[in-house]
Each structure stands twice: as structure tokens, then as C-alpha cells.
């Protein structure tokens, strides 16, 4: 048994150095060399100023000229990333969804006449898994397009075209549905306004 313990001790030390330092440091080195943008968090700059990450959803609440992100249970803060974890039969969850749904229909219905609760896509009224979901569904974006176009005095078709060019997904939706990256879309909108 003593020999086993000796081998075990050596193994723990050697593998901690090899797998805990050499391996992650080597991967970090290669990643920083070849995938600088991704490895550092897909950061987005505008006019030299860091304004966010393409992979981290942001809060646009109260900014009617911007597309809104999905609801977040953790305040869109990546260091606190969390889902609501409320159960399927939770009265609190139901109350939250009802509040969001009526706010969505009221807010967007002004611009998208004929918008009713059954046509609101579920991603617009449910909190995401991470709290920082960077994407919304195409259906959600197309409803919000009416408001954004009106507030910015843009033609609806211009905004819908922007949505189409910022929709990403896999061939045939095989690995997930088509989604719209909200930050990228909003940045494109801001660029659109400038001549």
C-alpha cells in the first residue's frame, strides 16, 4: 500500500503540472495567437470605445430606438449569470410572464397594429438560461421592427432588411433556429442613421 501511495503522490503532482498548467497555458497561447477576437470575448468597439461583447446580451430597456434583448433573471450581468430557476407551475413565474406579455403587447402594439398576445413569440416574454442571451428570435425582431422604424423615421423595409442580414443560423436550422444578434443589429441601426 505504501508503494501505491508513493505512486499516487507522484502522479498527482506530475499531472497537476502537466494538465493544470502546461496544457491550459499552451492552449491559451495558441488561442491568443490565432483566435484573438474569440479568445478575448468577442469584444465590439465603436469609435475605439469598447461597447460590449457579441456574445453577451445587453439591457436596452427604456431605449425605444433599439431592439430589446430577451428578459434576464440576472440583470444582464455576465459575472452573475443565472436563469430564473422558477418551476413550470410557479405562480411567481406566471405573474412575471403576464406582466412582460402585457407590456410587450401594449408597447409594440402602438406601432404594430393588430399585435395580439397569441402572436407574441415565447422568447420575448421568458427569461433566458444564462441571463445574457445575446439573441432574439426572428419573429420577435420582426415585431419590434415596427417600433424601431417609426422611432428612427426609417422605412420598415430598411429595418426588415437589416434584420435579415443580421440573422444567423445553421443550414436548414439543423443546429438551432435562425436568431438575430441584438447588439450587432443595434450597432448596424446606429450606423444606418448616419448618412
Amino acid at each position: 500500500m505504501l508503494r501505491q501511495l508513493r505512486s499516487a503522490a507522484i502522479a498527482v503532482v506530475v499531472f497537476t503540472v502537466l494538465l493544470g498548467l502546461a496544457y491550459p497555458l499552451a492552449i491559451t497561447g495558441v488561442a491568443q495567437l490565432f483566435w484573438r477576437h474569440e479568445a478575448n470575448g468577442s469584444r465590439v468597439y465603436r469609435g475605439g470605445r469598447l461597447v460590449g461583447s457579441l456574445l453577451m446580451g445587453q439591457d436596452f430597456a427604456g431605449e425605444s430606438r433599439y431592439f430589446q434583448s430577451r428578459p434576464s433573471a440576472s440583470g444582464y450581468e455576465p459575472t452573475l449569470a443565472a436563469a430564473s430557476n422558477l418551476g413550470p407551475n410557479s405562480a411567481q413565474l406566471s405573474h412575471e410572464i403576464r406582466t412582460r406579455l402585457s407590456a410587450f403587447v401594449r408597447g409594440e402594439g402602438v406601432y404594430d397594429r393588430g399585435l395580439t398576445a397569441p402572436s407574441v413569440p415565447p422568447d420575448a416574454v421568458t427569461a433566458s438560461g444564462s441571463g445574457v442571451d445575446p439573441d432574439i428570435s426572428v419573429a420577435d425582431a420582426r415585431i419590434q421592427a415596427h417600433r424601431v422604424a417609426a422611432v428612427r423615421h426609417l422605412a420598415l423595409d430598411t429595418v426588415l432588411n437589416l434584420i435579415a442580414s443580421h440573422t444567423y443560423g445553421s443550414p436548414g436550422g439543423l443546429f438551432g433556429p435562425g436568431s438575430v444578434n441584438v447588439l450587432a443589429l443595434n450597432l448596424a441601426l446606429d450606423a444606418e442613421r448616419a448618412p
Binding site: F15, L21, A31
Partner: protein
């Protein structure tokens, strides 16, 4: 439900079935000592490490000696990880200046990794330094996976042996598992994840002002290098608390699909390796078929359940998919497929909040685990867990026809069946006992987040997941309270949940493992009898059906009453709590 959702499931199974014999054959060559291509590059490292650990002439070990090595190694791994966590405050690579996690949380976390579970009461990005993530979580994701792989190979050798009691040498197997299987796959996989958008840096978090003028902090770290091995080794401990839901950890639908393949690849391949070791590849395919059928059934039910609104959504007047706790890039198809894949295996790296799944949808991951993690299961332990069920099925069939049960030409006798029975019921006993204790004591109720039956479901899920070494969670259930204060000031563990869960993980890992090793030791060296007209073959469709029935009946008899109290209630009612 869409065609593309079903198509994804079909593509996954097709690719997995294609990989299984290739990777399975490769793993067989690695462990039978044949020269593999990578030996050109890594042969010298392998030989040096082997000599260092096992001496120049590694001796074959019987099951007791093999188990002794596993125990010695795992005990020291546990100690090393516990010390790394508790000394976090004085270690380097801690840009956020986190203090050490409390002792009770560290106990739970060390047990979680050494037992290959990946249960996270801690929130990686808000509790652990980069040093702890690298030398703690990453290292022990590798090592616990390698231990499982080595033990499974040793057990398969025991089943195949005709005249020897030797199962191989643990240190030789451990080194080979790491150098030729886990490390090469991890290197390729982590670079793939980075290319897809995973983060990989040692820099501190970055503060910024968003487009709308809010403050946001980008949580960074060496994510990809850790993520990939937790996927491959069935550990599943995410770098972040929300695991694969975090875009920095699992950035795209495609990275998610490849991640699911990584989760399933080695446990699936081991069925093929097993078939080769015992000299009858159909034996391996039979196990694979049973596993695939159960996986498909679970995926179909979960997908259908989540494609409808939850009672909470219905009551609020919302329509469509149950998107609460799910990410848009995965939506329901990827979320449910991943959930089934990571709970059928012992992985647990979920990409959605299972706590918000519907009653029926949430009962699927529980049922996956309640089979004893034999639908592919964890790397290694899935295979030997399944072999215990095979012996049970053979025994039951023997009783039905009144013949002495045989498996691979070896008589299955009282000693083996006693061991198998103990091995099969031990983990369910822990699950039910711990759940009952936690739900009936005030200090157990502290961990519960949701009201009503969901609170019970959270508790049942917690102990099912921990005792079966899965690691996924109904994450409302907590064992650690952490105020958002600089450097974790004022955080504290919930002692009961941490210790009860930690103990469940350790016993749930090592007890069945040593029982399976004992069975292999008992079968090793048993004379084989030529198959006769009355021999029940174990590589046929009939046997596969029998095996499937045995697994289902054991799980159902054990767990249906407890499922009735939680998820089933919620599946049957529209009432809100």
C-alpha cells in the same frame, strides 16, 4: 416541434454510430498495448511516466490490488483538490481576488470532481480563481475520467480472462488513458471551441459601458481548455455556474452539437471496445443498441414536452415553446437533446435551466439518471454499470427457464449475483434515503428555492444527480450563499447540503466501482463452457429487449413513488404554486 429538430437527433445518432467502432477500436488498441500512431510523438513521455509510477516492469494486478491503486490515487486527488481550493486566497492567477471557498463548500466541490460528478454548488466565475479552475477543476476532470476509463477496461479484461486473475496495471492504464485518449481529444476540441467563440485567456474581467449606457463586466478566463475536458470525461463541471447556457462557454448551435458528440463519444465507443476485449463484437453492439433506444425514447419525450407552454405560461396567456430558462440559439430542440444526452451520460453539462422544464420534460433527465447512469453513462462507469445490469438480466432469464445463468460462457453463481444485487441497489438507496432526510429536516429545507411540488423535485433531483455522479441540477437548489461582494466576502456554505451531497457523490462513485471490480475479479479466470443448444445468447435482439426491460423495471420499481410526489404531480395539473 420541427422537422429540423428531429433531423438533428437522427444526424446525431448516425454520426455517433459511425464513430463508435472507430474510436472503440482505437481505445482497444491503446489498452492492449498495440502501437498507435500517436505513440511516435508521445511514446517516450508514456514510457517515462509509466516507469515513474509503476516501475520498469509493471506487474499485473488482481482486482483487490487494482482497486487499492484506484483508492490511493483518488484519495490523494481529493486531498490535493481540497487544499488547492482552501488555499485559493494565497495562490497566483486570481485576478478577481477571490477568497477561499468555505470548508463545507470545498468538501462538496472536491468530492464532486473526484467522483467525476461535476455538481456545482459553487458558481465558477464568481467563486473560483483561474488557478483553481486550471489546477483544480480541469486537472481532476481529466483524472477522474481517466480513472473511470482505466477501471472499465480492467473490468472488461476480467470478464474476458480465461485463466488469469490479473486485470492489468492501474498506472499503465491511467497513463495510456490520458496520453492517448483524453489529452489529444482535448487539445483538438478546445481549439475548436475557441474558434467557435469560447473564451481562453488569463486576463482579468473587463468592465465596460454598454450601448445604452449601463455597466457590464465581461467574465473571462481559461474556459475552452476546461470546457472540452469536462465534456469528454463526463465530468460536466462548467466554467460558469449556468454551464453550457453561457455563450462564452457554448457559443453556437454547432459548438453545442459537437459538444453533445464529445459527451457521448467515449461512453459509446467503450461498448465497442468491450466487444473487442471479450472477443465478440456483437456483445458490444447489443449494449450500444439498448443504450441508443433508451436515449431516443428520452429525447422524443423531452422534446415533445418542452415544445408546449408550461402551466405558468398558459396561465399568463403566453403561447408557444417553453422558452423559460432556455437560450434562443438552442431553443427547444437543442436544449432538450443536450439535456437528454448529458443526463443519460453522467455528464451533466446542461445548456438550459432544468428547474423551469415542464413536469414531464423535467422528469426525463431524472429518469435518465435513475436508470443508474447506464444509458451510455459516465466514461467507464456507464459500461460497468451496464454490465452489472446485464448479469442481473442473465440471472432473471436463468430463473425463468430454470438453467444456471451463463454469460460469455462463464457460470454466474451466487457470489456474483450477491455482488451485483448490492451494486445495483446501493445508489438508489442513497438517493431515497438522502432525499427523505433532506426533505424532513429543517436544515434540509434551507436549500429549496421553489414552492410546492417543485421544491420536492429539486431535492430529489439534487440527490439523484449527486449519488449517480451526473452533476446536472434543478439549480434553484442551493448549497452555498454568496452575496455579490468583492472577493466573495461574506459567502457561506449550507453545511448539511454540502456534506450530504458530497458523501453521496463519493459513495455513489466508489462503492459500485469496487463492487464491479469484485465481480470482474470473480469472473476472471473462471473456465468457459462451450455454448450448447440450451445456452441463452446475449448478443441477440431478444436479450436486448430483456436487458431493456430489466433496467426499466428496476428503475421504475425503485423510483416511481418518489417521482409521483414531484414532477408527475406538476405534469398532471395546471395549478400554480
Amino acid at each position: 416541434m420541427t422537422d429540423s429538430g428531429w433531423l438533428q437527433i437522427a444526424v446525431l445518432i448516425a454520426v455517433l454510430t459511425g464513430i463508435t467502432p472507430l474510436l472503440g477500436g482505437y481505445i482497444h488498441r491503446v489498452f492492449s498495448g498495440e502501437r498507435v500512431l500517436l505513440a511516435r510523438a508521445f511514446g517516450p513521455v508514456e514510457r517515462r511516466l509509466t516507469r515513474l509510477l509503476a516501475g520498469s516492469e509493471p506487474a499485473g494486478q488482481d482486482w483487490r490490488s487494482y482497486a487499492g491503486s484506484v483508492l490511493a490515487f483518488s484519495a490523494l486527488c481529493w486531498l490535493a483538490l481540497f487544499v488547492i481550493l482552501r488555499a485559493q486566497a494565497i495562490e497566483p492567477l486570481n485576478p478577481q481576488g477571490f477568497g477561499a471557498p468555505p470548508w463545507n463548500l470545498s468538501f462538496n466541490t472536491a468530492s464532486s470532481l473526484i467522483s467525476n460528478t461535476g455538481w456545482q454548488f459553487y458558481g465558477g466565475e464568481s467563486t473560483l480563481s483561474n488557478f483553481s479552475q486550471m489546477t483544480g477543476i480541469t486537472v481532476h476532470a481529466f483524472l477522474s475520467g481517466a480513472v473511470g476509463l482505466a477501471v472499465a477496461i480492467a473490468i472488461a479484461r476480467g470478464f474476458a480472462n480465461r485463466s488469469s486473475a490479473e486485470l492489468g496495471n492501474f498506472w499503465v492504464d491511467l497513463v495510456r488513458a490520458l496520453i492517448y485518449v483524453l489529452v489529444p481529444l482535448a487539445v483538438v476540441g478546445s481549439l475548436f471551441l475557441v474558434a467557435e467563440g469560447s473564451v481562453q485567456t488569463l486576463a482579468a474581467n473587463v468592465q465596460l459601458s454598454t450601448l445604452a449606457g449601463a455597466r457590464q463586466t465581461l467574465a473571462l478566463g481559461p474556459v475552452a481548455s476546461q470546457k472540452v475536458i469536462t465534456l469528454l470525461s463526463s465530468t460536466g463541471a462548467g466554467f460558469y455556474g449556468v454551464n453550457s447556457a453561457m455563450p462564452y462557454e457554448d457559443p453556437t448551435g454547432f459548438s453545442n452539437f459537437v459538444g453533445v458528440l464529445m459527451v457521448l463519444a467515449i461512453p459509446a465507443a467503450l461498448t465497442s471496445t468491450y466487444g473487442r476485449i471479450v472477443g465478440n463484437r456483437r456483445q458490444g453492439w447489443t449494449l450500444y443498441a439498448v443504450m441508443v433506444v433508451m436515449l431516443l425514447g428520452a429525447a422524443a419525450v423531452a422534446y415533445s414536452a418542452e415544445a408546449h407552454p408550461s402551466p405558468a405560461m398558459r396561465a399568463a396567456g403566453a403561447h408557444g415553446l417553453n422558452m423559460e430558462g432556455k437560450e434562443q440559439r438552442f431553443a427547444v430542440a437543442d436544449s432538450t437533446l443536450t439535456t437528454v444526452a448529458v443526463t443519460a451520460t453522467g455528464n451533466g453539462a446542461t445548456n438550459a435551466a432544468l428547474d423551469s422544464f415542464t413536469g414531464l420534460g423535467g422528469s426525463i433527465p431524472m429518469a435518465d439518471m435513475m436508470t443508474g447512469e447506464v444509458i451510455f453513462g459516465s466514461v467507464g462507469s456507464g459500461l460497468f454499470g451496464m454490465l452489472l445490469m446485464v448479469l442481473l438480466a442473465v440471472f432473471i432469464a436463468g430463473l425463468m427457464v430454470g438453467r444456471t445463468p451463463e454469460y460469455l460462457g462463464k457460470k454466474i453463481e451466487a457470489r456474483e449475483i450477491k455482488l451485483v444485487t448490492i451494486g445495483v441497489i446501493a445508489v438508489p438507496l442513497i438517493v431515497l434515503f438522502m432525499t427523505a432526510w433532506a426533505i424532513s429536516a429543517r436544515y434540509g429545507l434551507r436549500s429549496i428555492f421553489n414552492a410546492g411540488p417543485q421544491g420536492f423535485s429539486e431535492t430529489l433531483y439534487a440527490y439523484t444527480s449527486q449519488a449517480n455522479n451526473n452533476g446536472s441540477a434543478f439549480a434553484g437548489y442551493i448549497g452555498f450563499v454568496q452575496p455579490h461582494a468583492p472577493g466573495n466576502a461574506g459567502s457561506s456554505g449550507i453545511t448539511f447540503a454540502d456534506l450530504a451531497g458530497g458523501s453521496a457523490m463519493l459513495v455513489g462513485r466508489f462503492f459500485p466501482m469496487f463492487v464491479a471490480l469484485a465481480v470482474a475479479g470473480s469472473l476472471s479466470g473462471k473456465r468457459t463452457i462451450a455454448a450448447g443448444a440450451g445456452t441463452m445468447r446475449t448478443d441477440t435482439v431478444i436479450f436486448a429487449v430483456l436487458l431493456l426491460a430489466t433496467i426499466s423495471i428496476v428503475a421504475l420499481l425503485t423510483f416511481v413513488p418518489s417521482l409521483m410526489l414531484g414532477p408527475v404531480v406538476q405534469a398532471l395539473t395546471g395549478r400554480l404554486f
